[in-house]
């Protein structure tokens, strides 16, 4: 899951506030992707780079930027993202269904980059994966639906702007509606998922009804609640 950090001016005070918060929950951001929303600040390109580096020193990995003039974002900075929803400083006792900002994930080096590229040029609104998605692979397709003919392995993740369809077993993570689409759904032939997310609302494996395990299942949003029900 990705969190959105929204620094406020003066940045120095905001950073010390963050430090105080990190002192209480040092591992909160460990290994988690974070989006930096700079709408409340007016920073130069080097100012942004400095802020990203300062967060890096705190082991906060910035995955993307929001609320900033794209001309300021050079190749050395994280990429621009759009469509994220504002979220305040994460709360420790946050409700499991509404804790996180929209999920977005960075494509990993090992992701089957060639496949999505090829598919994208053919049809921009959907991505069809004929091979299984293996552990450690991250498929990010913000333009629309992702269909996987095989299985999604444990430790793999699919991030789609639209819905996600898995005709095999979904063992990894599926994040649908990642660009802010509450009508996106997740369908799978067999659910063993580690995490399901739609438009930022998520459920972990522990919160998925054990009776549904291994069943054909769909997940959708009913208001703020994620519903997970059998397909048949």
């Amino acid at each position: 899951m990705a969190y959105v950090l929204t620094p406020e001016a003066p940045v120095f005070d905001w950073l010390s506030e963050l430090d105080a918060w990190l002192a209480r929950s040092p591992a909160f951001f460990a290994g988690r992707p974070v989006i930096l929303d700079l709408a409340a600040l007016e920073l130069s390109s080097s100012g942004i780079a400095h802020l990203v580096a300062s967060l890096g020193e705190r082991n906060i990995r910035i995955l993307g930027l929001e609320g900033v003039d794209p001309s300021l974002v050079g190749p050395e900075l994280p990429p621009m993202l759009a469509g994220g929803r504002a979220a305040t400083m994460p709360q420790q006792n946050a409700n499991a269904n509404a804790a996180a900002a929209p999920a977005t994930a960075a494509p990993e080096a090992q992701a089957p980059a060639a496949e999505p590229e090829a598919a994208k040029s053919a049809a921009k609104t959907s991505l069809l994966l004929e091979q299984p998605v293996r552990s450690g692979q991250s498929v990010v397709f913000t333009e629309g639906d992702v269909t996987v003919l095989g299985s999604v392995g444990s430790g793999a993740e699919i991030v789609a702007g639209g819905s996600i369809h898995v005709y095999g077993t979904l063992r990894g993570r599926a994040m649908a509606g990642a660009t802010g689409n509450p009508r996106a759904r997740i369908f799978c032939n067999r659910i063993e998922a580690e995490l399901l997310a739609i438009d930022g609302y998520y459920r972990t494996a522990d919160e998925i009804d054990a009776k549904l395990r291994s069943q054909p299942t769909q997940a959708w949003l009913d208001g703020n609640a994620m519903m997970i029900t059998p397909l048949n």
Binding site: P112, A114, S135, R171
Partner: protein
């Protein structure tokens, strides 16, 4: 046509080196010219399992860096004259390998052998990537445990994206070798079943090697199990796997639980 085969797994301790030695010896036994190459630079073991540790002079790193010529580093097996070993260096680390250097060594080996079997180090870093880089086919060694299976899934993904063949858009043959399979534990549900592993990894099965003391004993005396006790169940399973690698059709034997009298009485209740 030489075939370059990488034996890989992601996870350590699942039996890559043992399987490399056993498959290499089984193939060489049929008269094929085989070289087994240890890519585990810094933590070499294949020389021990092959019983050649006292004859190592030059190694893979020496050849890659041009210190020694390939024929100087190759060690011929004492039992099978078509079986050779290219050992790893114990004093260096994986950073000493370069992609170009490995590529040159592999193409030189292709000239001389029918099979080049690369024993990959554990992990998904540089050493493992270089071991699979030039492979035509891969043997993925998996124990029927969830951790091992997930790591194998990860390695299969890398075989499909990081090998030269995959980058050229070609298909790399993948074979799944399930090792340390314990029929009794699988029957009690303490291990993943063969069907579970195949369903998760969706990769063709090369063989199922039963867990056995013979395998441990063979490693300790420095003889591949297919030579030290060729009639034992694990050796037979490796020999059949080697036949399948050569394209022969051999019926798959799933190791069965041999129940003793006590097991027959208490077996069901113990479950």
């Amino acid at each position: 046509m030489a075939k370059v085969l990488v034996v890989t797994s992601g996870k350590g301790g699942v039996g890559k080196t043992t399987s490399t030695a056993a498959l290499g010896a089984a193939l060489a036994h049929t008269g094929q010219r085989v070289v087994v190459v240890d890519f585990d630079v810094g933590l070499r073991n294949l020389d021990l399992v092959m019983g050649a540790e006292r004859r190592v002079v030059f190694d893979l790193i020496n050849v890659v860096t041009g210190v020694a010529k390939l024929p100087q580093a190759l060690i011929r097996d004492k039992r099978l004259e078509t079986l050779w070993l290219l050992p790893a260096s114990q004093t260096r680390d994986k950073d000493a390998l370069t992609e170009e250097g490995v590529g040159e060594v592999i193409s030189a080996l292709r000239e001389q052998f029918d099979w080049v079997i690369c024993d990959s180090p554990a992990g998904i870093e540089r050493g493992a990537i270089l071991a699979m880089r030039y492979a035509d086919a891969a043997v993925i060694v998996t124990n029927p445990e969830v951790s091992s299976v997930r790591d194998s899934d990860r390695i299969i993904g890398m075989l499909d994206s990081r090998t030269l063949k995959a980058e050229k858009g070609e298909h790399i043959d993948k074979h799944l070798l399930i090792t340390r399979y314990n029929a009794a534990r699988a029957a009690r549900g303490e291990m993943l079943s063969v069907d579970d592993v195949l369903e998760i990894l969706s990769t063709p099965l090369l063989g199922i090697i039963p867990e056995s003391q013979e395998v441990l004993r063979a490693s300790n005396v420095g003889t591949p199990v297919t030579l030290s006790s060729a009639d034992s169940p694990p050796a037979r399973a490796y020999i059949e796997a080697a036949q399948r690698l050569r394209g022969e059709t051999v019926a798959m034997t799933v190791p069965r639980d041999k129940k003793g009298l006590l097991d027959r009485i208490f077996g069901r209740r113990a479950a």
